[in-house]
């Protein structure tokens, strides 16, 4: 599928950030700060205050070790790895048990997606929500903006068009391609 590829590569941005380029930092921040916050919120399953602290610790740790990112994984996966460590450290310090996840494969999720209305218990599961965040984070910025504005913020197609600076028709077409790309990502994630 053709996706907008005008985005600068994450590895290049990470290298530029490691070299002190603030405009590269701003681009990475715009792309990943919000999805990372959502990831941590779902992972912790509650406390927003804790999520905010871990989010800050994770981003600061990422800045400190930016030069160690070498595209062995996607940039967002790398960030989530740091966040998982921070969460595990915090739980250990408080003597709380580690977070345990139940299994749901992407194949299962992709099948359920096509079968009929998704059951509420699947939507409420932490694993499902984490996958949604990961899938969204890996989409091109334009697709992610369109999907979150339309569905998470419940904006009209006209408002999405204004947000993207496109015509109504173009926004509709972007939304349709974004949905298809999102479905692809959801069904691919655990095969990679």
């Amino acid at each position: 599928m053709k996706t907008p590829d005008n985005q600068e590569d994450d590895l290049t941005l990470a290298r530029r950030t490691a070299a002190g380029d603030q405009s590269a930092l701003a681009l990475l921040y715009e792309r990943y700060a919000d999805p990372l916050f959502a990831f941590i919120c779902h992972y912790l399953g509650g406390s927003r205050a804790d999520a905010e602290e871990i989010w800050q610790d994770t981003l600061l740790a990422a800045i400190q070790s930016m030069e160690t990112y070498r595209k062995q994984s996607r940039f967002f996966t790398w960030l989530c790895g740091i966040a998982r460590h921070k969460i595990a450290d915090r739980l250990r310090c408080r003597g709380q048990p580690a977070v345990v996840f139940s299994e749901i494969s992407n194949k299962q999720l992709a099948e359920l997606l096509e079968k009929g209305p998704l059951p509420e218990d699947i939507l409420a599961r932490r694993e499902t929500r984490l996958r949604v965040v990961e899938a969204l984070a890996e989409l091109p910025a334009e697709y992610r903006t369109a999907l979150t504005a339309r569905y998470a913020q419940q904006r009209s197609v006209e408002e999405v068009a204004q947000l993207l600076g496109k015509s109504y028709k173009a926004a509709e077409s972007i939304l349709s391609r974004a949905k298809a790309a999102f479905r692809d990502r959801i069904s691919q994630q655990d095969t990679e």
Partner: protein, 115 residues
């Protein structure tokens, strides 16, 4: 019969609502504050690790001067050096500097993440 694409579109919308709800987004003030904090850390990290240019030029100049002095002291016809303590110190300084060039290159490459 229901169109399966309708289910899919509806499910995608519900998934995004569940995964990216308003309460899972940082508030705009925290978002802006965090970026300022990161930019500050990045700037501080950079300014702490920059080696002033004039020191580099001075070190290179001193090493060249010592190497030139050593060359003048060398007896080129007899191909030998009258090894005084001063000569020994200067020769050590020059050769240690030459020896550290490849080591410095390796360290720089590792720190910048190329190796």
């Amino acid at each position: 019969m229901n169109d399966p694409r309708e289910h899919i579109d509806d499910n995608v919308a519900r998934l995004i609502q569940a995964g990216f709800a308003a309460e899972t987004r940082p508030d705009p003030a925290a978002h802006a504050r965090m970026f300022e904090c990161l930019a500050y850390h990045l700037q501080r990290r950079q300014s702490g690790s920059v080696f002033p240019e004039w020191i580099v030029i001075a070190i290179v100049g001193i090493v060249f001067f010592l190497a030139a002095w050593l060359a003048v002291q060398f007896d080129w016809t007899g191909m030998r050096l009258n090894m005084t303590l001063l000569c020994l110190l200067v020769a050590s300084a020059v050769f240690l500097n030459i020896l550290f060039i490849p080591i410095a290159i390796i360290i720089i490459l590792i720190r910048r993440g190329y190796v």
